[in-house]
Amino acid sequence: MEKLLLSDHSEITINPVEPIFTPKEITSYLLIEFDRSFAIKPGISKKIYLTFPVEIGIFISKRRDFELLDVFSFARKKFSLYGEPNNGIVCKYWKSNLHLSKPDVNPLTEGVLELNVRNDSSSWINVSKALFKALGMKLYYNGSLVSMRATMKLTDEEIAETDFHDSPLEKGMHKSIELVTSKRLSVQSSKTIMMEGI
């Protein structure tokens, strides 16, 4: 992409953005499918670590005003359908290995998502995927890591609720510019209800 910038005393900011913009912004959702499913005991919460695709935004900024110039990504780009064609959701798709501790990844292609899974139901539940709304994603980054922290509340065998925590995975990480949140005019919920299977 080539663009002529007519400006004075502006800065170029480069940071990770919500992973829904490449190759084209057609959805506000990210679906992460695990390489293996896990089963969780009723009434407990456990932390797992997943990866997500990193997309890098280039902004031109002056004081607090910023304008997105371009977004690019080295990660695999793929979309998927969550639910049925008549009432489902088209999502950005990512297949992730499931880790029990923070994995080492290439920060230019993959970020690390710490997911706190809580089983609020009274039975064991199998989980093989997680759906997230880009609105509410809180991305943090440093030279070697891009991260997000989220929760997944399982209410029964078919329904779950996901949401994000606004905190870094490591100390001293920088917070990314929230592109999706800044584009929304009204306040909307950042929670995602998964009703088409988990």
Binding site: K24, K77, F79, L81, Y82, P85, N86, N87, Y93
Partner: protein, 276 residues
């Protein structure tokens, strides 16, 4: 003063009452419209909301009108007879208009299509530009503006190309008999796997669908987001063709092998000449 007759049996009092009723109708309509819009703003979409407001306004008007008729001493039973005859006359005259109008109301309630949708209806394919009470306007792919009466739309089948979030499209790729169909399927699967808008789920379906007269036909079925399917369909077939050819698999073309009786004869003659 209040019993002073103005025209016929209309007194000042009756006139004041009629004016009051009309004022009351106007104010009540405004109040009801305001509260209906406010209450159902988040529950109903704009089209349905406006229909509801109109129905309420007309109902209040009919009540006010009936009340005024009573004040003027006009009996409704007489009006009903006259109205019945008038209704029959008007009914014959405006049959199609009423049909279109009723169809328009049902189209707005049922909503098989919305403004901006790509549809095929009554043999017309295009984008819905407007749905009015009598007719619907469609802009065809060629940029033509077509007005379709609502009655025709309501009684014909409607194909809405964009009502679902994703749709499937298909190709049939015919390769030569001497090519490896399993390898071709693997190559096509790689292509769909690399393509972002070929959805992961539902997964593409690729299989040998026919052993045709000149080719082994491989059917490729791909699901794509509704906003992207057409661009993808236009692009992907050529990608498949080029990738197959790069891997030594050729697209078959129609061919026939002819066995001529003369050839057998020549073979026999040839043998006899050699024998001599």
């Amino acid at each position: 003063m209040v019993n002073y007759t103005l025209i016929g049996n209309i007194t000042v009092l009756k006139l004041v009452m009629i004016v009051g009723i009309l004022l009351g109708w106007a104010i009540t309509s405004k109040i009801f419209s305001f509260y209906v819009r406010k209450t159902f703003k988040t529950r109903l979409d704009k089209d349905h909301l406006e229909i509801a407001v109109k129905i309420i306004n007309y109902s209040i008007f009919v009540l006010a009108f009936t009340w005024i008729l009573g004040i003027l001493g006009i009996k409704l039973s007489g009006l009903l007879v006259a109205g019945g005859i008038l209704g029959i006359v008007l009914g014959f005259a405006s049959q199609s208009i009423v049909g279109n109008l009723v169809s328009g109301v049902f189209l707005m309630i049922e909503r098989p299509m919305k403004i901006g949708n790509a549809v095929e209806v009554n043999g017309v394919i295009g984008i819905v530009e407007d749905i009015k009470i009598i007719s619907t306007t469609i802009r065809t792919w060629d940029g033509l503006h077509i007005r379709v009466p609502n009655e025709k739309i309501f009684t014909s089948s409607i194909t809405n190309y964009v009502s679902n979030v994703a749709r499937r499209f298909s190709y049939v790729v015919g390769i030569r008999y001497k090519d490896d169909a399993e390898k071709a399927i693997e190559i096509i699967r790689q292509i769909t796997d690399e393509e972002p808008f070929a959805l992961q789920t539902p997964a593409p379906i690729i299989f040998v669908s026919e052993l045709a007269s000149s080719s082994v036909d491989i059917t490729v079925m791909i699901w794509s987001p509704i906003t992207e399917w057409y661009e993808l369909k236009k692009r992907l077939l050529w990608v498949i063709k080029k990738r197959l050819e790069a891997n030594g698999i050729e697209i078959a073309f129609p061919q026939s092998v002819l066995w001529l009786g003369e050839e057998n004869l020549r073979e026999k003659i040839g043998k006899s000449i050699v024998g001599d």
